[in-house]
Subunit: 145 residues, 2 copies
DNA sequence: AATATAAATGCAATATAATTGCATTTATAT
DNA sequence: ATATAAATGCAATTATATTGCATTTATATT
């Protein structure tokens, strides 16, 4: 799902200044295919990037459609790189998410969000689907023991 | 979706003590078919019920399967009465939610969550689907003006 | 009806998370 | 090389959630 990303290029495309903090955030998030939570990012980058700056970078990335934000059950924000079709106006985040209740990781699955018909009068812009359960890795862990 | 509820009975069924605070919370949440947020509840009940008590009541109701909690885009908890089939062990919250981005209300729609096939190794226990857009009421408001 | 007791509530204090204002630093256009 | 507009870091503030404990309340038992 996550192809190699080029932070410098991404920043240029969105007319954002190229700072080492912004590059680091993109690098860190691109490391894994699973979404990473704000607290995890803070733990990893806390020595290099101020807490407040991290908030600001994440917000601007979300606004620009560079990252998408997935809320987990605890109301914690998780971030993943958007597919290239995302824009500031519209997030084409039309795959389902899998939130492992053991390790808390959020996976962007390569499964499309199935269509649902809205009741009369309701107009849906985006539809998010999140499955909760046990991920591949944690299922294997159980077998081992 | 929300039939008349009987707080006294609900409390009895779950072996919870009958207190006026607990009754008030259930009454308030049952007032409307849309889910109500923790901050809204706090605003409405703040004079009668202590902030901390409200948190505790909401938590216990969720644990017991009396309420289900829906996180909105901002990581704010919203609560709605569970259908009767819910239990402490498993929330059968298998309808989709509609989160209006204008009035922020969360509707429990009478639309089933469509089935999605998980990748090999992933086992899903529950699946949540939330549609974001404009609700009936807010769509009508626009037409008026 | 009175009462023992286990649980729920409210308050104060603490912890955690997010936001704002402002001085300083940094990127980039010229 | 430098001007300037923007980003960063720090301090302070605000908002949100949790914990401990004394007091109050519900209910089971007599």
């Amino acid at each position: 799902m996550n192809m190699k990303i080029d932070p410098t290029n991404i920043l240029k495309e969105h007319a954002l200044k190229h700072t080492k903090q912004r590059v680091r955030v993109l690098e860190e998030i691109a490391l894994d295919t699973v979404a990473i939570s704000q607290p995890e990012l803070e733990k990893k980058l806390g020595k290099e990037i101020d807490r407040v700056t991290l908030y600001r970078i994440l917000n601007i990335y979300e606004d620009k459609g560079i990252l998408h934000r997935i809320m987990d059950m605890n109301g914690t924000a998780n971030y993943a790189i958007c597919s290239s079709s995302c824009s500031a106006e519209h997030h084409h985040d039309e795959h389902i998410h899998f939130n492992c209740t053991t390790c808390n990781k959020i996976y962007c699955l390569d499964v499309a969000v199935p269509h649902s018909t809205m009741p009369k009068g309701f107009t849906a812009k985006t539809v998010n689907t999140t499955a909760y359960g046990t991920c591949e890795k944690c299922n294997l862990e159980v077998k081992k023991n």
